[in-house]
C-alpha cells in the first residue's frame, strides 16, 4: 500500500499505542493546514534550505493547537492557551538557528494570546505563525471569538454577536510583522507557497488561514470550502469589494530581533578583559 508522502513526518504509532487518525472532526480544516505546512516544510528540506532537526513546532491550546500534541515526528511543544508565542520567544533566544513554526487558532492567538501576538510582531522575532481562523472556539463547544462576525449566533451569543471582528492580518501588519498573508483551506497551493516563503524569510511572519469548523457551523466541509472560494477576493482586486481579501498583505523585511541582539553580544564580548 502506498503511503501518503507526508506520513513520514508524523508519528503514526509507538510503544504505547497508535496516534492516528487525528482527533479532529471529519473535514476539519486543521488537518488540511498541517498537510499544507508539511508540504512546504518538505520542499524546504529537499531544497537544502533547512535540516529536519532544525524545525520546531509550538502550539497553544485549541483544535488547531492539537496538531502538535503528539502527532509530529519533529521537535514540538503543545503548550498553554495563548502563550505559544512567548514560549517560542524563549526557544529562539536559546537557539536562534532553529526554524520555529507556531500553530495557533483565532481565539488562542487574538484573545488570550493577544498581548503576546502584538509584541512578537513588534519585536519581529524569527518565527512563522500559522493561524487557523474558524471564527469561534471549537474545542470548548463553539463560543464566540474575537474573529466571529457581527451578528453571528454562537453558544455564547445566542441572540447574535454585538461585537465586530478583528482583522488579524491588519493587526499583525500594524504590530510590525515583516510578512503577512491570508489564504483559506480552499487555496492549497497558494497556502503552501505562502508558508514556504514565510519560513524561508527571517523575521516574524503571520499566515492567517480561514479554516472550516463543520461541526459548530453545522455545514458540510465541502460546502464551507466552496463558500471560502466564493467569499474571498484577491487583495489586489479587493478595493470596493465586500468580500474578504486574500493574498499578501505585506512583505517588508526589517532587522530581526536576534540579529539585533547579536550586535550587543559582540560589543559586550569585546569589552570583556
Amino acid at each position: 500500500m502506498l503511503k501518503h508522502p507526508m506520513l513520514k513526518y508524523l508519528k503514526e504509532s509507538g510503544p504505547h499505542g497508535t496516534r492516528l487518525p487525528f482527533i479532529m472532526c471529519p473535514g476539519c480544516g486543521a488537518g488540511q493546514v498541517l498537510n499544507y505546512t508539511l508540504h512546504a516544510v518538505d520542499s524546504i528540506i529537499k531544497e537544502g534550505g533547512a535540516r529536519k532537526e532544525d524545525f520546531v513546532f509550538i502550539s497553544g491550546v485549541g483544535c488547531s493547537s492539537r496538531l502538535t500534541s503528539h502527532y509530529l515526528n519533529f521537535d514540538s511543544g503543545w503548550t498553554i492557551h495563548g502563550r505559544a508565542l512567548a514560549i517560542a520567544t524563549g526557544v529562539l533566544l536559546a537557539n536562534p538557528d532553529l526554524n520555529i513554526v507556531v500553530f495557533t487558532g483565532d481565539g488562542d492567538a487574538a484573545a488570550i494570546g493577544g498581548n503576546h501576538f502584538i509584541h512578537a510582531f513588534r519585536r519581529n522575532i524569527n518565527v512563522t505563525v500559522i493561524c487557523m481562523n474558524n471564527g469561534l472556539y471549537g474545542m470548548t463547544g463553539g463560543q464566540v471569538a474575537p474573529t466571529s462576525l457581527s451578528q453571528a449566533v454562537t453558544s455564547t451569543t445566542p441572540y447574535g454577536n454585538i461585537e465586530d471582528a478583528f482583522d488579524l492580518c491588519r493587526l499583525a501588519q500594524s504590530s510590525g510583522a515583516s510578512y503577512v498573508a491570508r489564504w483559506t483551506t480552499a487555496h492549497p497551493h497558494k497556502t503552501i507557497k505562502a508558508i514556504k516563503k514565510a519560513i524561508s524569510k527571517k523575521g516574524a511572519a503571520f499566515i492567517e488561514i480561514l479554516s472550516q469548523c463543520p461541526v459548530h457551523k453545522k455545514q458540510t466541509p465541502v460546502d464551507m470550502i466552496r463558500a471560502f472560494k466564493a467569499m474571498t477576493v484577491p487583495i489586489n482586486k479587493a478595493e470596493g469589494s465586500s468580500k474578504i481579501p486574500v493574498g499578501e498583505f505585506c512583505d517588508t523585511p526589517r532587522p530581526e530581533w536576534t540579529q539585533k541582539y547579536e550586535a550587543i553580544i559582540e560589543k559586550c564580548a569585546g569589552r570583556k578583559s
Binding site: H4, P5, P26, G27, Y36, V222
Partner: protein, 72 residues
C-alpha cells in the same frame, strides 16, 4: 494506470477529496469504514493524471496516489 490508495482506518469520510479532484474520478460510495465513516471510491482510474491534489487537501493523510513519474 495510476493506483490510488485509501487508508480506511484514517479516512473520516469528509469527501473533500471528491470535491477537489479536477478529473472528478472520486465519488462517495456506499462503503462504511470500521469507524462508521462513508468512504470515497475511485472510478475511472485511467483518467487519473497523478496531480496529487487529493493527497494535499486530505485532512487525515488518508489518500495517496502514484505520481506522474511513477506511472506504470
Amino acid at each position: 494506470m495510476r493506483k490510488i490508495f485509501i487508508r480506511t482506518d484514517y479516512c473520516k469520510g469528509c469527501l473533500i477529496c471528491v470535491e477537489s479532484c479536477p478529473k472528478k474520478i472520486l465519488k462517495s460510495s456506499s462503503s462504511i469504514s470500521a469507524k462508521g465513516y462513508t468512504l470515497p471510491q475511485v472510478t475511472n482510474t485511467e483518467k487519473c493524471n497523478g496531480c496529487g491534489i487529493c493527497e494535499i487537501v486530505c485532512p487525515d493523510f488518508a489518500i495517496a496516489v502514484e505520481k506522474k513519474d511513477k506511472a506504470v
